[in-house]
Symmetry: C2
Subunit: 259 residues, 2 copies
């Protein structure tokens, strides 16, 4: 049941999400599940130079090259400047990092990204890493959102738009998931995620031109099957992983129906 | 020519943008221009607890309540945790902050936001502040992007999608602008910004299903006139402000054609 047998090359799963979405917790928990339930050989890469304590042991770690705290301390930068500068360092040393990543003996390489998603996404570093990983194996982006961001239909629609932004910036297939699936907000969100028609009608029930526009955009995205299915997971309580795995599998082998 | 005469109440201009887009520089430069060229009474609010040195003198400053550095030092948090916690403090003290902001004697209140845009956008703090400001005056979001983010048609399209995400999250009219208009990438971007038809045909020239989808989405956004015009500015060299002002004026008085 090794993934490598099926795939013939490593899968690089780039885990992104806004601050607090739980991407680091998910990286550890999903990695554990992949090795236990799927008997996959799993490796971990940390590309967050601002990470504090990690719940997994990274095989390649950005913090060997630079940390946000040392830039603040040694270069006298404020937190904003240090975050951007840390990405610049990773960008410049990407050759070395990518070389080490591509030598990992693994079926799935989980790539954890900076706490602040935009740091990776809107710096040249993110697209450069994803492009290079896609040359070395299969690369898929997983965007994780906190379910509490999906309290209203239009807010839920923004998560689908954000997934598309990730896909366009990183130029790799992108899957979204809702974390903290035990939250109250998650139940509603799960219904929207499962039934695009319900989301559309709820969007139309919201006031204003902007909800109407969001509904139109969701309709177009549905037609193209982009990030249409959004599984609910709990990184902390470790559930929802089979559904997430099935979706990822469809995406990376391009063998399934993504609607 | 005082704006207050025209508007009858203050305009709260919420300035957002990814790290390094130049929003703080723009806040200072555009504020100066508004007071000189438009004879507006301008006030400044800093909502970035991670700000280092500011090029303007804030009338209300989040750093009186909390700073990222002190959370790191005193609570032993890493940079990621401290950033999120600092937003939580602002969220909890928003009553006090909003009270002080609404008492500013100004025609335009420029509200500078955290270095990391998503911190404001994907925390309850951002929507709470924008909603409350919209009750106290006219509120408009200005999303600033570095022109170098718009090197390809699909990357340019992501900026329009991001503007829409901002509008849906903050629930206020949103205008986008491209900063660092002197960069090489800006010339092409300016052409796409001015001519949605050109953007569409260039998107269609890009490979893949995802560009096709981006083209469809841009078409829908054009039909709804959302963030269709994207002025080019240079916060550093202080140009493009008249065009930006005209666009903002159309949006907040809802008296113009936004196409």
């Amino acid at each position: 049941m090794g993934l490598r047998l099926h795939l013939g090359r490593a899968l690089y799963l780039i885990v992104l999400g806004p601050a607090g979405s739980g991407k680091t917790t998910l990286t550890a928990a999903f990695g554990g599940w992949l090795s236990e339930a799927q008997e996959a050989r799993v490796a971990y890469v940390n590309l967050d130079p601002g990470a504090d304590v990690l719940p997994y042991k990274p095989d390649v770690d950005a913090r060997e090259y630079v940390t946000v705290e040392e830039l603040m301390r040694e270069k006298g930068l404020g937190p904003n400047g240090a975050l951007v500068e840390s990405m610049q360092v990773l960008y410049e040393r990407r050759g070395e990092l990518l070389e080490r990543i591509s030598q990992l003996e693994a079926d799935v390489v989980l790539v954890d990204t900076p706490g602040q998603m935009e740091l990776f996404l809107f710096h040249d570093a993110g697209p450069a890493f994803s492009r290079e990983l896609a040359k070395r194996g299969a690369a898929v982006a997983l965007v994780l959102f906190d379910s509490s961001l999906a309290r209203s239909p239009s807010h839920f629609a923004t998560l689908r738009l954000m997934s598309l932004v990730v896909q366009l910036r990183l130029d790799v297939p992108t899957v979204a998931a809702l974390n903290k699936g035990d939250l109250e907000a998650a139940r509603r969100a799960a219904a929207w995620a499962k039934d695009p028609g319900l989301l559309l009608s709820d969007l139309e029930g919201e006031q204003g031109v902007i909800s109407e526009l969001a509904a139109k955009l969701v309709e177009v995205m549905n037609a193209y099957s982009v990030a249409a299915r959004i599984p609910l997971v709990s990184a902390k309580e470790r559930w929802g992983f089979q559904e997430l795995y099935d979706l990822l599998h469809e995406v990376w082998c391009a063998c399934g129906d993504l609607t």
